[in-house]
Symmetry: C2
Subunit: 306 residues, 2 copies
């Protein structure tokens, strides 16, 4: 299903907060198909995060077929051996878009992290400007620092969250999903308290954050994307190890509902910057967008071959 | 139950996020009793927010008795006439502490707003340095701008929240309760988007924000208090009236868990200030604390007589 296409853009990350509608209006999935190239696009569905490959594939098979997609196929990975298979890696590299399903991000990363499948996705994003999508666990796995495990509770608690290495499509950003629906502000605050150099990105269900590396980002779907910026934060994280609940001040919160769109013209004036459609926006938001957008554009550490 | 007592402090507001424990450890209520003056204190329980005066009174009667309080009594107000009754107002003025129960803040305010009961509470706080407490609806009603009504949903939506005049114990702050438990970040963000000069204070269940006017504040109980500061915020509130979901950037979030305590020495140095125990804290937090603490200290517009 290989195909060389000229695109003016640089590929996209398409990061879904889980539970995207697959039955009715399919707002999120239909936009994904459009960005993949429409009905003629070839879409590889990576089910490795799930234990139920067949069931998950059937859901997306039906949804993509209903959206008119003719060339979509499952990539079933059950071992690291398979994830290093040249033929599978080539089919990932050749696809116009890759869709990583939900399941468990630990499983996804331990199966494909650092394998030829992984590298093929990075190379396809960079060289073929394809669209790389993930939903739920598939979304969490996209960041370099991945939310690995978290305890329950609405408030940020010391030691309640653990970070692991993710697939690295976004650097310096931690992605969380099912964000508003599962009351995850507390755990994302805990991440930021523990790692002030990381931005937290909480994505609601049936909502996607679309990132065009180096250019801008956009939110679509039903909910919103919440960005937490702790770079100017003061926290009790180091002060008082006896206290479990964390005390945090000066966390910056940016809430971008569906419809929000920030494409920057690259100018910076004092504490302000501008979008390409002429809106003046705070530099903090430009920092957020730049950190998000540029990270996926970063070259891999070593040359890869799919 | 009148009694003249010397206190070194200036009275306190004791603002509870609802659902405080009344059966077991009673951490929040026992601190309230301590601040009221202990077992000898006289506590007036104002049930006006509720339709179930007897049931609500029984709950607090039992709880305060279990905490050793000997002089606690219900103040039952079912009409504005009663709320203007001199004898009832005098008993409120004479109490060492007033406790406003939960129910409906609209009911509470429409019954007692601007009446002699209302004025007696303000005068008691100012002249007798008593402790004025409210839980749930009783907490919401304490602010000058009161959260009156809000639609459902986790995200801030234009027109989804309404403000009314509250009892005015805190100025420039809107209090919300059951905060983490009922996913109320969105509605408090909507308040701030609509009223950028108001600070939002979201109080969790079984948690109290204790404010000593002009001096500092403290959080006790099980959860946390979330302060939202939208003074540097940019929002889509005015830009795009067609968009229902609000876009907000640069909202400052301060999360103070139980155990957090900020008493300020009054110094300001650049963007920093200090607490009386020597911690350096961001000026934004001092702004928050000052706005919260000083408001209860403001004189009433007219002389009152209970």
């Amino acid at each position: 299903m290989a195909k060389q296409r000229k695109r003016r853009h640089r590929g996209r990350l398409f990061i879904i907060g889980g539970a995207e509608d697959r039955e009715d209006a399919k707002v999120v999935l239909s936009r994904f198909v459009e960005l993949a190239g429409g009905a003629d696009a070839s879409i590889a569905v990576l089910t490795a995060a799930s234990n139920y490959h067949d069931e998950v594939w059937e859901v997306y098979d039906r949804a993509f077929a209903a959206l008119g997609v003719r060339h979509h196929a499952p990539i079933v990975i059950k071992s690291r051996d398979q994830a290093n298979d040249d033929t599978l890696a080539q089919s990932i590299f050749d696809a116009d878009a890759v869709f990583m399903t939900g399941g468990d991000q630990k499983k996804l990363v331990s199966l494909i992290g650092g394998t030829r499948i992984d590298r093929a996705m990075h190379r396809a994003l960079r060289e073929r400007a394809v669209c790389i999508a993930g939903t739920s666990a598939g979304a969490s796995a996209m960041s370099e620092h991945m939310l690995f495990d978290a305890g329950l509770g609405e408030l940020p608690v010391r030691g309640n969250v653990q970070i692991a290495a993710g697939l690295g499509f976004m650097r310096r950003v931690v992605i969380d999903q099912h964000f508003s629906e599962r009351l995850r502000l507390g755990r994302l605050l805990a991440i930021v308290a523990q790692n002030p150099y990381l931005l937290g990105a909480g994505i609601d269900e049936d909502t996607a954050l679309i990132v065009e590396p180096g250019l801008g980002l956009e939110v679509i779907g039903k909910g919103a994307v919440t960005i937490l910026d702790g770079r100017e934060m003061l926290s009790s994280y180091l002060d008082d190890e006896g206290q479990r609940q964390l005390e945090l001040t000066n966390v910056k919160l940016h809430l971008m509902p569906a419809g929000a769109r920030y494409y920057f013209d690259g100018s910076v004036q004092g504490s302000q910057t501008k979008t390409s459609d002429g809106r003046t926006v705070p530099i903090a938001l430009y920092d957020v967008v730049a950190a998000v957008a540029s990270s996926a554009d970063a070259p891999l550490a070593e040359p890869v071959s799919a």
